[in-house]
């Protein structure tokens, strides 16, 4: 497949549940494309629409510029790994993985070779003789992944494949997905609610909320230039701090809402009346002394010690925010604490539209 194009896709379920609302995007050959959003945002529905398991209400699905919107699933030749795995319970692991190959009419000898191949990549070769109900969660997942990979299809879609697994297993499988993608050049559409996963695996990410597209971009773009409040607060651990404030008349200073503390603004065009300044926790400059005009006094409420870094829960006035500091940072819950919002790192959100204002270069 050279290109998957989705145009103005909409789907409403009975009971007026709008799962998808005018969704458009395209995926290029060999791309690792993530669809990221909270649970129940409509991501699984999107995959089922692309695969043809559900009908669309409006919009088109184009695979290699051929309109597949009404085509039966088997004509679309895409592979889908479901969220709840869905291994055939009466078939052994081997037969499960061989299923798509048998449907395609591949001969038995070639099937044996191919199954062994894919099983080896996710290390489940030793399990294949048994039935799915004897597998652990991680093993089921990997056999399901093998099945999705067995028949080389033009598009591989994965619906939250790692969500139900232990944190530790997730990290290991993430690595395997990554090498899988790099080695095979397979086009992948990957649905998840875990932004770390999306960030670390993808060429581009589509951020999805309540059936609508919030932003499409590379991990770098969505991280450093979020388009909307939702994107800013969804990407990043901890998420971006958003502090309401009122700009001065010349848009050079910002007064923190509900206080008389002011801080220098970054270089933006004329600012609207109601804004929120966005600053990522790792960009907050924490110190025991007052800094420059971008520094504000505050107090540290709690320190989360994560081993490789510390996260400070702090307050400026009545606003709560977070900062990430190295493990041996001197600031603690007692004693003075100053928090700097460097002008170059500020993002400015228009609180009326919930979209970010462009920086003035």
């Amino acid at each position: 497949m050279d290109r998957l194009t989705i145009r103005n896709l909409s789907k409403t379920f009975p009971g007026n549940v709008r799962a998808l609302d005018d969704v458009s995007f395209s995926v290029a050959k060999g791309e690792f494309f993530s669809v990221l959003g909270p649970t129940n945002a409509g991501k699984s529905t999107l995959l089922k629409l692309i695969a043809g398991l559900i009908g669309v209400d409006a919009g088109r699905v184009l695979i290699d510029d051929a309109d597949m919107t009404q085509a039966e699933p088997r004509l679309r030749r895409v592979s889908l790994l479901f969220q709840n795995i869905a291994l055939f319970p009466t078939l052994s692991g081997f037969d499960n993985i061989a299923y798509p190959l048998r449907l395609a009419g591949v001969d038995e000898a070639a099937i044996r070779v191919r199954v062994a191949e894919v099983a080896a990549t996710v290390n489940v070769g030793h399990l294949l003789g048994r039935l799915p109900r004897t597998y652990s969660g991680g093993e089921q997942q990997r056999v399901a992944i093998s099945r999705a990979l067995a028949h080389r299809s033009r598009l591989l879609m994965l619906d939250e494949p790692l969500t139900n697994l232990d944190a530790r297993l997730r990290i290991g499988l993430r690595r395997q997905f990554r090498s899988l993608h790099r080695d095979s050049g397979q086009t992948i559409v990957y649905v998840t609610h875990d932004q770390v996963e999306a960030m670390s695996l993808s060429d581009r990410i589509l951020i999805f909320n309540e059936g609508r597209v919030e932003q499409i971009g590379t991990p770098r773009e969505v991280y450093h230039s979020p388009a909307t409040r939702f994107v800013a607060e969804f990407i990043g651990t901890p998420p971006m701090n958003m502090i309401d404030c009122v700009p001065s008349a010349d848009s050079r200073m910002l007064t923190i809402a509900g206080s008389n503390l002011s801080v220098q603004a970054g270089s933006f065009a004329a600012l609207p009346d109601r804004v929120a300044v966005g600053i990522r926790p790792e960009d907050v400059a924490v110190s025991r002394h007052a800094g420059d005009a971008t520094s504000l006094p505050g107090s540290v409420v709690w320190i989360e010690r994560l081993g490789s870094r510390n996260v400070l829960d702090f307050r400026i006035g009545s606003h709560a925010a977070r900062a990430v500091v190295p493990v041996d940072h001197p600031v603690d819950t007692t004693g003075p604490a100053w928090f700097g919002l460097p002008a170059a790192r500020q993002h400015m959100l228009d609180r009326v539209t919930d979209r970010f204002v462009q920086r003035q270069e």
């Binding site: 909270p38 990290i171 609610h193 991990p219 081993g307 490789s308």
Partner: protein
């Protein structure tokens, strides 16, 4: 005072069909402490929790709450509060009715019930939510209501069974802070079961790492991170996980040095163990870029970079594998040749029997 009781487990055992789900667990939770039981699924933590609450009877061992042995007491008599994984807020009742539920079941009179509900609502900032129906709450509100519903019965200890594992990553952060708030303001003893090491690290006063029915290590988050005592703990804690490298120990044990696939000798402190270490462990955050002419720097090539937003993880060639290194964004590029150095104070030796020791830098204190 209620909520501030200690919990002690002595030699707790439970087997199912011949497998030892819990294999001799000893644990003491101090009053007012937040202690996490951390382990992968199948390690026995849910069984352990089930025995503590009284839903399962242990094969052997004692459970002591606030100084009383509770082995023979029914769950409702143990004065423990359990918050389930999915909160189980009654959707057909209002928040107020939810909170009063347990009290009503215990036969408390209406006047006293209302008093307690009002008090807990004020403490947990739920007053505005009291008239709302349980079905209309968002995740954060549900968590507060579920916890309040348990706290209103004034349990000695609050138990939580993986309450955030079904939630989106973004929601979890704020719920964590709220839970810590609740604990701090009420000085409540909390026992928290989870498989997510970041969560346990962020919230706990101490962590008990559990696997295969046993507690492998008990200590503060920092202890467990810096000084893991077993291979399992070393690999389980920390994201990205610890790098494990083949190595060779040279020289006198009291004054030795370690050699790896890329590095020349790195001096380490006294090595008080027998035999050769099977692996050298170093966390990605303890691998740093160095100047080319630093004494122990190694030159290597960056194969791949993972962008996690606030930092990047660079994977560099190392022997026949890759070494993960945490860097600031855009500090290095893919394909670039760099010099790296391993922090000698942050090395771990994994021994043949899977215990771990930290040799420290030369001249370090005796461990």
């Amino acid at each position: 005072m209620t909520g501030q009781a200690g919990l002690e487990l002595r030699g707790l055992r439970k087997s199912f069909d011949g497998t030892r789900a819990v294999d001799g667990v000893d644990l003491a939770v101090a009053p007012g402490e937040f202690l996490s039981i951390l382990g992968p699924s199948g390690c026995g933590k849910s069984t352990l929790l089930s025995m503590i609450t009284g839903l399962t009877t242990q094969d052997g061992g004692d459970i002591i709450v606030d100084g009383r042995v509770v082995n023979d007491l029914a769950p409702q008599e143990r004065r423990l509060g359990l918050v389930f994984q999915d909160y189980a807020v009654f959707s057909r009742l209002s928040v107020r009715q939810n909170l009063a539920f347990g009290l009503k079941a215990r036969g408390m009179k209406q006047a006293e019930r209302e008093m307690r509900v009002a008090a807990i609502a004020m403490q947990l900032d739920l007053e505005a939510l009291l008239p709302r129906s349980g079905a209309t709450l968002n995740m954060s509100e549900m968590q507060r209501v579920a916890i309040a519903r348990v706290l209103v019965t004034e349990p000695d200890i609050l138990l939580l069974d993986e309450p955030m594992s079904n939630l989106d990553a973004s929601v979890r952060m704020s719920l964590r802070t709220e839970l810590k708030h609740i604990q701090a303001s009420l000085n409540q003893t909390i026992l928290y079961v989870t498989h997510d090491q970041a969560e346990a690290m962020a919230m706990s006063d101490r962590i008990a790492v559990m696997n295969a029915g046993r507690i492998l290590q008990l200590g503060s988050p920092e202890d467990i991170y810096r000084r893991p005592s077993s291979r399992f703990v070393a690999e389980f804690i920390g994201d990205p996980p610890m790098n494990l490298l083949a190595c060779e120990l040279r020289g006198d044990r009291s004054d030795g040095s370690v050699v790896t696939a890329l590095h020349g000798p790195i001096a380490v402190g006294p090595c008080r163990f027998e035999g050769a270490p099977s692996r050298l462990g170093i966390r990605p955050h303890d691998v740093r870029l160095a100047h080319d002419d630093s004494p122990q720097a190694a030159r290597t090539r960056v194969v791949y970079i993972e962008n996690i937003g606030a930092e990047h993880i660079a994977y560099v060639e190392y022997g026949d594998g890759l070494l993960a290194m945490a860097t600031r964004p855009d500090q290095v590029r893919e394909g670039e040749t760099v010099s790296i150095v391993l922090d000698p104070k942050a090395l771990h030796f994994i021994l043949a029997d899977d215990t771990v020791v930290q040799p420290g830098a030369p001249g370090a204190q005796h461990g």
